[in-house]
């Protein structure tokens, strides 16, 4: 069991991801108080300045580039908080990750979920 699982189409968030994505995850984790959510929504760029993000990470946050947020070290549970301030559902993100519309993704789930491999 000593190696990290390698499953195509699947993020397995690990310690290196945590290191690389630290600023993304730290920013997202602050969104658990109403005051921080309000401050973020009032001036997102300024809010980002308080975190030591790379330009790519900053862009991914501001543009809600969900795939890039994960590729740049975001943990799905942290990134989800950013979707939550936008009032976007997990089904919306599921659509983004799979290249489907939200409606199609919801329909796929209601039909029993996606069989993957």
């Amino acid at each position: 069991m000593t190696t990290k699982p390698d499953v195509p189409g699947t993020y397995v968030f690990d310690i290196a991801d945590s290191r690389h994505g630290h600023a993304i995850n730290e920013l997202c984790s602050t969104l658990t108080t109403p005051a921080h959510r309000a401050r973020f929504l009032a001036d997102e760029a300024d809010y980002c300045d308080h975190f030591d993000m790379t330009p790519a990470q900053r862009t991914a946050v501001l543009q809600r580039d969900w795939r890039s947020l994960l590729d740049l070290g975001g943990s799905i549970f942290h990134v989800l908080k950013l979707a939550t301030v936008d009032k976007l559902s997990m089904q919306h993100l599921g659509g983004v990750f799979t290249g489907m519309t939200t409606e199609d993704f919801i329909a796929a789930m209601r039909a029993g979920g996606r069989r993957c491999g």
Partner: protein, 284 residues
């Protein structure tokens, strides 16, 4: 002496809690799931424990990424309900059981489990949704104290399934060593198959889930021997949460009786399930 009287395995999907909080449980999307809970809920209402030990994982709410415990047990007298980004769920504050919690930590550390001791903890959906599945209308207070036992399932390396099962066995020993006569229920939460991100988002694997649902009673050792990669490949990156059911299972006897179970797809992106076991050999 204290004893483990029953064990509940249940998904802890946030939308299950939201459906209850927003009174949508009778809508077509949700009704089948909640109908499936009914039998178990009735039985549990007749068997209120003195304490619950609730095995779950935090989801980026109380436990950040700066200090990630493999196993943490919470010893505080009370636990506020976390704001996960949409405000706290409208459910009561949870009261702990500091004396039993301290006893469990001491026993587990002596038993070579390297437990992190949490003294302050806000509890998120991973914790409150199972309580709601158990007890839908708490009013001002939950029916009994609850001790949180947290497992890292979101950052590799998670504990192995085998280690979780062993933790459960040690937890059972620790509970049985407590001098007070307490009836303890153990909840194992999370799962079943689901994956939130990546190209496999939306994955559901009913064959694996059915296998797991069966063997959690009859052959937990087989489940404990599965690798992380097997869990993630078969059940999805978040389906690995099912290793937490093994902590519950380990705390129970070898032979247990299934009171009720249910399986439903979907609860948002997840295969939701419940399995309730009484801690006695079948037919006895």
């Amino acid at each position: 002496m204290a004893e483990v009287t029953w064990g509940l395995a249940t998904s802890h999907v946030p939308s299950i809690g939201a459906a209850m909080d927003n009174r949508r449980t009778q809508e077509p999307y949700w009704k089948p799931l909640f109908d499936g809970y009914r039998q178990a809920r009735d039985w549990m209402a007749d068997h209120t424990p003195d304490v619950i030990v609730l095995v779950y994982n935090d989801h980026a709410n109380a436990i950040g990424l700066d200090l990630v415990p493999t196993f943490a047990l919470a010893t505080a007298a009370s636990f506020p309900v976390a704001d996960e980004g949409w405000g706290p769920r409208p459910v009561p504050t949870v009261y702990g059981h500091p004396e039993l919690a301290q006893h469990l930590v001491e026993c587990l550390v002596d038993d070579a489990f390297d437990i992190t001791v949490a003294h302050r903890l806000a509890v998120d959906h991973g914790f409150t949704v199972p309580l709601s599945v158990y007890h839908p209308d708490p009013g001002d207070a939950w029916p009994c104290p609850v001790i949180p036992l947290l497992v890292n399932v979101i950052q590799y390396p998670q504990p192995t399934a085998a280690r979780c099962y062993d933790l459960g066995k040690a937890l059972g020993r620790a509970i049985r060593a407590y001098p007070e006569d307490l009836k303890v229920a153990v909840f194992g939460t999370g799962g079943m198959s689901h994956q939130l991100a990546g190209e496999r988002a939306g994955l559901i694997n009913p064959v694996f889930d059915a296998m797991f649902m069966s063997k959690i009673q009859s052959d937990p050792q087989a489940l404990a021997s599965l690798s992380r990669e097997t869990y993630i490949r078969e059940a999805g990156s978040e389906g690995i949460e099912m290793i937490m059911w093994l902590v519950m299972r380990g705390a129970m006897d070898e032979d247990i009786t299934r009171i009720s179970d249910t399986y439903h797809v979907p609860a948002s992106n997840t295969a939701a399930a419940l399995a309730l076991f009484e801690n006695r050999a079948p037919g006895r």
